[in-house]
Structure formats: structure tokens, C-alpha cells
């Protein structure tokens, strides 16, 4: 029975990984049109490296991800800290914070689009950052909140009793204790932001596209080895981020993602 289960698990893992491996391998394939292997080349990567549009997309992606990560980490940590207190309307508050995680991406994207349109705000990198901060805030809050649950509040109170001003107590006692949670929340936020397509699609301005948006428009046009190369690069970037998350915070990878 265990052998059968193990074999099945193997098949599932192959189904998860085989397409990715095939895609990576074919990003080094010479032929532009054929799915047959004709020879090794780095041409597609060279083309990417010299493609100004891709550079601009990468730059936009990084701008949106980094700014929204900083904002979301600040706001999300605050949200999680505030949720430790008991207050009226706490359940409503918890629902509000978790809402962006609960609803499908397209709902948040379309709502923000409706808002910007209603207010007559032209979409730009700023509106994309606002959108990313909104969903990232929720993820950071959830991760930090999990970390805070394991924290003994009496230590903080002791620091304050001993005369530390609240901000100092936070800086010296609370923050070091929850830092792994804050860092993993930030890395998660950056990763989600870097990979996001749907919400960016609805909220960013013309000419402010990101790498995932480039993939979307390219794939709808035709399947080419350049897309394989670009996808491989994005994949590699994600892997670097995961490695960073594991190294800096020792979080179980099972902590988040979507």
C-alpha cells in the first residue's frame, strides 16, 4: 500500500515539475518554430538581454514590488500588532484585513480599476503600487500575526514597567522577537508582487507593464523560445527569493503563497 502511495506521489511530482523542466530545456533550443531539439543556443537569452522593452518591464516590476513591499510591511505589521488587543468591532477588522487574501484576484483588480476610473485618476505605477500594497498588507499581517501569537506579552510589559517608552520597548523587545515574521512577510510580499499578473493588469498604466504582463501578451500572440527564456529568468528570480526567505528567516516554506 505504501509503495502504491509512494508511486502515486512520484507521478504527482513529475506532473508538477516535468513541464517546467521541458520549458527550461527548450529555452536553449536553436529552432524557433519546431518543438524538436535542433541544437544548443543562448541566442534567446541574448535577445532578452538586448530587448529594451524587457528592460523597461523588469524595471517597472522591481519598482512596483519594492515600494509596495516596504509600504505593506509597515502597514501589515501595524495591522497585526493592533489585532492583539481586544476592541469593539475586532471581528469586522479581522475580516477586513483578511479580505484581499480571500477574494479572487480579479475582484480586487476590477474594484480598484472601478475606483480609479470613478475618481478620474489615470493609471500609472502609483496606482499599481497602491493595488499591490493592498493585497500584500493582508499577507504580511497574516504572517506577522502568526509570529506574534507565539510571543509572550509580559516581556514587553516588563520593559515598559522598567521605564522604557513604548516605542523603545517595541524597538528593543518586540521587533527583535517578531523580526523573522516581519522579514518572511516582506519576502512573501515581494515574491507575490513580483509574480502578480491579474491585479497589475487591471491597475497599472499604459507603458507601465510588468514582466508577467509581457508573458501574457506574448503567449497570446505565439509560443516562441524567447518566452521560454523569459519564463526561465522569472523562475530563477523566484528561486533566488525563496532561497533568501529560507536563509534569512528560517520560515517553513509552507508559510504562505498563493
Amino acid at each position: 500500500m505504501r509503495k502504491l502511495l509512494g508511486g502515486f506521489t512520484g507521478i504527482v511530482l513529475v506532473a508538477l515539475y516535468a513541464p517546467i523542466v521541458v520549458m527550461i530545456v527548450f529555452s536553449f533550443n536553436e529552432s524557433k518554430y519546431s518543438v524538436k531539439w535542433t541544437g544548443f543556443t543562448l541566442d534567446w537569452y541574448r535577445m532578452l538581454a538586448h530587448d529594451d522593452k524587457i528592460h523597461k518591464d523588469l524595471w517597472n516590476t522591481l519598482k512596483i514590488s519594492s515600494v509596495s513591499t516596504v509600504l505593506a510591511t509597515l502597514l501589515g505589521t501595524m495591522a497585526a500588532m493592533a489585532a492583539r488587543n481586544t476592541f469593539r468591532g475586532k471581528r469586522l477588522y479581522q475580516t477586513l484585513v483578511a479580505l484581499p487574501v480571500m477574494v479572487p484576484d480579479i475582484v480586487l483588480g476590477m474594484s480598484l480599476y472601478a475606483l480609479f476610473r470613478f475618481l478620474g485618476i489615470p493609471r500609472s505605477l502609483v496606482t499599481a503600487v497602491i493595488a499591490h500594497t493592498t493585497f500584500n498588507l493582508a499577507y504580511v499581517a497574516v504572517v506577522v500575526s502568526a509570529r506574534l501569537q507565539g510571543l509572550d506579552r509580559s516581556i514587553e510589559l516588563a520593559a515598559q514597567d522598567l521605564g522604557a517608552p513604548p516605542l523603545w520597548a517595541f524597538w528593543k523587545v518586540t521587533l527583535p522577537a517578531i523580526l523573522p515574521g516581519v522579514v518572511s512577510g516582506a519576502v512573501l510580499a515581494f515574491t507575490l508582487s513580483f509574480d502578480d499578473f491579474v491585479i497589475t493588469y487591471f491597475t497599472t498604466g499604459p507603458g507601465n507593464g510588468t514582466l508577467p504582463m509581457r508573458i501574457y501578451s506574448l503567449v497570446r500572440f505565439a509560443v516562441t523560445p524567447e518566452i521560454n527564456a523569459l519564463s526561465t529568468v522569472i523562475l530563477a528570480a523566484s528561486l533566488v527569493l525563496i532561497a533568501a526567505a529560507l536563509k534569512f528567516s528560517r520560515v517553513p516554506v509552507a508559510g504562505g503563497g498563493r
Binding site: 508538477l16 520549458m23 477574494v103 479572487p104 472601478a114 487591471f202 521560454n228 523566484s238 525563496i242
Partner: protein, 245 residues
């Protein structure tokens, strides 16, 4: 103390009100327009909702059937293998969904598999980790004593599975199902990659959005949102919630 609490509470709350609550209200306002009402009165819209619903149901069921043996196997491994396998299962979903879907398309197109069943396969492949993790978490907590007791009392392995294991892992089954079902219901871009003709509600919203018909797009989005919130609410009735989620 109170001042400090408020200074923590206000900024995130203000942000969420401005960019989550207000947008939802604007969305609702835009949905209750002539365009929005016309879209909702259109029978085709409900056909799409029905199709999205069914694809989500089937995908969730296939996901559950494929994940249960995997989660069960992982839970029975030694710690070392367990961590490795969990890592391997979770790793893909830290990577870009479009990239993963494109990779799948790249492999499926040449063999000519691109109908609705391919779309479901792609969905299952993408959302598998969401199902395996919660299942694993609840299978891992199963007290072995109960399984032994059931067998000692003469139940066959199949009977033990259906009468003991499955009921006890219901929280994992429910959590995994909701985590797969909700995003699949509003899935967008993934079906288009595999098969252009499998139009689901997400693609239709995108179509209206592309045509500049914000009223119709908002109406469909609002229905989708109400439906998912309702589902989450029903789900939360059945489980005790702690912390933020």
C-alpha cells in the same frame, strides 16, 4: 496605551477603507447601472457562472482525489523525507502562475491536448499545493491509536479509512477545498492560455473591461465577490477562528 493602540490601528485601517471598502462601493455603484443590469439580465452571463462553478467543482474534486494519497504518503514518511517532499510540493507555488501555465501549455500544445479537460488538468496542476498542505496538516495530527482501535475491532482498512480517517481529516478537506475552489472560480489568464474557447467568468470580466464596459464588468465582479464572501462565511461558521485568519 490607548494612543499607541490607535496609532497602530488607524494607518492600516485607513488604507484598507480607502483601497478596499471604497473601491467595493464604487464597484457596486457601477454594477447597478444600466450596463450592469443589462449584463446580469443576459442569460449567457448565468451560463458562464454555471460553467465556472462546475469547472471549479470538478477541479476541486480532482485536486482532492489527487492530493489525499500524496498528503497521506508524506505524513507517513520520516522527518527528513517529509520536509523534502513538502518543500517539493510547495516550491512551485512560490513561482509565477503564468510561467507555470505557459510551461504546461508548451508541453500540451504539441500533443494536441487543449480542450476543457486540459484546462481542468492545468487548474489542478496549479492549485495542487493549496490542497496538499492543509490535508497533510490534518492527516499528520491523526492519532494512530484510533486507527489501530478501529482495526483491532475488526474493521477492514477501507472501512477504517472511510469511517475514521476521512471524518477526522474533514477540517483539512474543507480548508483545502475552499482554498482551491475560490481562486478557481475567478481564475483568469490560465484558461485562456490552454484553450481560448473555454470562456469562464474571469475571461468575460476581462472582455467587458477590454471593451470599456465597466458597468457590465463590475456587475459580474460584484456577483463573484458576493458569492466568494458567502462561501467563506459559511466555511468560517464551521471552524473556530483564531488570530487573523
Amino acid at each position: 496605551m490607548k494612543g499607541r493602540f490607535l496609532s497602530l490601528l488607524l494607518p492600516p485601517t485607513a488604507w484598507l477603507v480607502a483601497f478596499l471598502v471604497v473601491p467595493t462601493m464604487v464597484l457596486a455603484g457601477s454594477a447597478f447601472s444600466a450596463d450592469g443590469m443589462r449584463a446580469l439580465a443576459h442569460a449567457g452571463t448565468w451560463v458562464l457562472f454555471w460553467r465556472s462553478f462546475w469547472i471549479a467543482v470538478v477541479s476541486t474534486a480532482v485536486c482532492l482525489a489527487a492530493s489525499y494519497p500524496v498528503a497521506y504518503f508524506i505524513a507517513g514518511c520520516s522527518t527528513k523525507w517529509r520536509n523534502l517532499l513538502l518543500f517539493l510540493v510547495v516550491l512551485p507555488f512560490w513561482t509565477n502562475l503564468l510561467v507555470r501555465t505557459y510551461a504546461l501549455k508548451f508541453c500540451l500544445d504539441p500533443i494536441g491536448w487543449s480542450d476543457t479537460s486540459a484546462v481542468i488538468f492545468a487548474i489542478v496542476q496549479n492549485f495542487l499545493p493549496f490542497m496538499i498542505l492543509p490535508l497533510y496538516a490534518s492527516i499528520e495530527k491523526l492519532p494512530p491509536r484510533l486507527l489501530e482501535a478501529s482495526q483491532d475491532l475488526g474493521a477492514s482498512p477501507a472501512r477504517t479509512f472511510w469511517k475514521v480517517t476521512v471524518p477526522l481529516t474533514m477540517p483539512g478537506i474543507a480548508a483545502g477545498s475552499i482554498l482551491v475552489f475560490i481562486p478557481v472560480l475567478g481564475v483568469f489568464a490560465l484558461p485562456e492560455f490552454i484553450n481560448e474557447r473555454t470562456v469562464l467568468i474571469g475571461s468575460q470580466i476581462n472582455l467587458y473591461y477590454g471593451q470599456g464596459d465597466t458597468g457590465a464588468g463590475s456587475a459580474l465582479t460584484l456577483v463573484l465577490m458576493i458569492f466568494t464572501i458567502l462561501l467563506t462565511w459559511i466555511y468560517s461558521r464551521f471552524r473556530k477562528s483564531e488570530g487573523l485568519v
